[in-house]
């Protein structure tokens, strides 16, 4: 098991002046972020701010042009996704990543394709099933016939097969109805209590921040504000600029969801 360490000293991931982009245009123009072990951090910001790009530079899908990505004290900027996967960084992309024609169970096994030991895969699946009962209940169902929310849960369960230290989630709630969305955010909290560190990108800024410990607001390739998620949620300035002005007079998202 990886360590369940909530102490403030343990920095798992640190981005320093990260510049990255596609072609000649730079999407990230010097991003600084710090993520502690066991924390859930939610990145919010308008479209095109570079939220997904941050995740890609961490997982290795997009090597940064400048700056350092330090994971567990080691600069991993420019390392391949495969190396980073072995290191314990799992990237769950925005689009559906399950094999629709394969059963839930086979999808989980596929998640452990690179792991040689069947015993290890089995233990990890048992652990995942504990957190996500759906993988046992629907084990012989084709993943394609699950609802969007159920598929996302299976995807999250699949990440556990790598025993990840850091899970990168790109818009996990996209295209989900409110009930499924709540299930997914509960699952993310579940992962966090199981000791996983999570970096989350979310358009549903309120729900995302409500599920997170830390929040960071990204705008035009720069981190504008970082802070405790609950504080950001209540900050009237943040609410006006990034959470939609009309929500100012409403109660916070958490109580809305519980209605």
């Amino acid at each position: 098991m990886n360590n369940i360490n909530h102490s403030n000293s343990g920095v798992l991931l640190k981005l320093t002046d990260v510049v990255a982009g596609y072609g000649s245009g730079m999407v990230l123009k010097g991003v600084n972020l710090e993520l502690k072990k066991g924390d859930v951090m939610c990145l919010i910001g308008p479209n095109g701010a570079g939220k997904s790009t941050v995740l890609k530079t961490v997982s290795g899908l997009l090597p940064p042009k400048e700056g350092a990505v330090v994971f567990e004290g080691q600069n991993i900027a420019g390392h391949t996704p495969k190396e980073n996967l072995r290191r314990g960084i799992v990237h769950v992309p925005q689009e559906r990543s399950l094999f629709p024609g394969m059963t839930v169970w086979d999808n989980l096994l596929m998640g452990g394709y690179l792991i040689r030991s069947r015993k290890v895969i089995q233990d990890r699946i048992d652990e995942a099933a504990h957190l996500f009962p759906i993988v046992t209940e629907r084990r012989n169902t084709h993943a394609g016939s699950l609802s969007g929310g159920e598929q996302k849960q299976v995807e999250l369960a699949r990440t556990l097969i790598f025993d990840p230290k850091l899970i990168l989630l790109d818009e996990p709630s996209i295209g989900l109805d409110p009930k499924s969305r709540r299930l997914v955010f509960e699952a993310i909290r579940g992962l966090a209590t199981a000791g996983r560190t999570i970096l989350l990108v979310e358009q549903n800024a309120r729900s995302g921040l409500a599920a997170a410990d830390q929040g960071a607001i990204l705008e035009t390739g720069l981190v504008r504000i970082t802070g405790v998620a609950a504080t950001l949620l209540e900050d009237p300035e943040v609410a006006r600029l990034y959470l939609g002005a009309s929500t100012m007079t409403r109660p916070p998202a958490k109580t809305q969801q519980e209605n």
Partner: protein, 350 residues
Amino acid sequence: MKLSKKGASPFFTRSGLMRGGVLIAVLIVMPQLFPQHWIWNMMFFTVLYAAMSVAWNLIGGFAGYPSLGHAAFFGIGAYATASIFKSSEILTNGWQPFFMLPLVGLGCAILALPIGYIAMRVRANIFAIVTITLLFVAQTLGYNLKSITGGAQGAGLSVAPFHLDIFEQPFYFAAATLLLFAMGIAYFITKTKLGMALTSIRADEDKARGVGVRTTGIKVITFAVSVGITGMAGGIWAYYLGFIYPQFAFDPLITIAIVLMTFLGGRATVWGPVLGAAILMPAQQLLAYYVGGSQIYLIAYAAIFLLIMLLLPRGILPTFLNKRRMDSMATKGDLSGTSTTPVTTGGSKS
């Protein structure tokens, strides 16, 4: 809570061993019951085509790359065997060509590596077109490389010195051995990670790469194994006929037959292609036997193919197994089911 039903299933299951045993028994006993030559002949072709269908299923079924060029390798295997055993000097007791088969198969497989590497740069549907081109290239070469193939005049092998009463038997058992070999590979695939990898390639190749499957290597090697077996089948066929022509060695109908058999029985299953061959080949031969040496079976092929597409798009075996699974779930009132069947059914492709 232990969930290890499929994850830790042993390599040899009791039912798997039993089915294998029954098949071997049937392969040995069946021909003994029928002394007629035409039945031996029919069973030889059934078993030979079953072996080729199982081989085709490795790449066309499990990996979802429908090759239409397998007949090219059938012909290459046939002509390789023919050119080795042109003269009767090396054919003392008649068994040498069978022992030469693994080498013929290996040759075909090695030849397939660069071809597969290039052809598989395109995805499934285009791959079908690329491979059918390969077949016609091979056929044209068969007609024109006269020094090797004898061109349209055909190529002769020395006649097998088997007693006429049992003439078909050695060929039959060679084909049966090839069938068991091919099925062994198919079984191995369903029982190991390789099967998962191939299924994931069929389902979505980009995602398969995403979880770490080395798609190119696996595809090309599976293709090579598949056509290697097909080449060996061509070798047995050439030796059995004793005289071969490009028209029949590189025959698109061979490909069509094995594809049809696989689709009828069930793609991506161990037993489906065998079942398909056991239905279609005797049907074709009986049709020829009773109606006369006609090409009626070609019309029948087209009709059968349409019927499969309409009524059994997944083939007999997967449809049957799925129904049984659904029934057992319904009686248990249990949605999770406990099926350990290796049958994985991909999306309906092509």
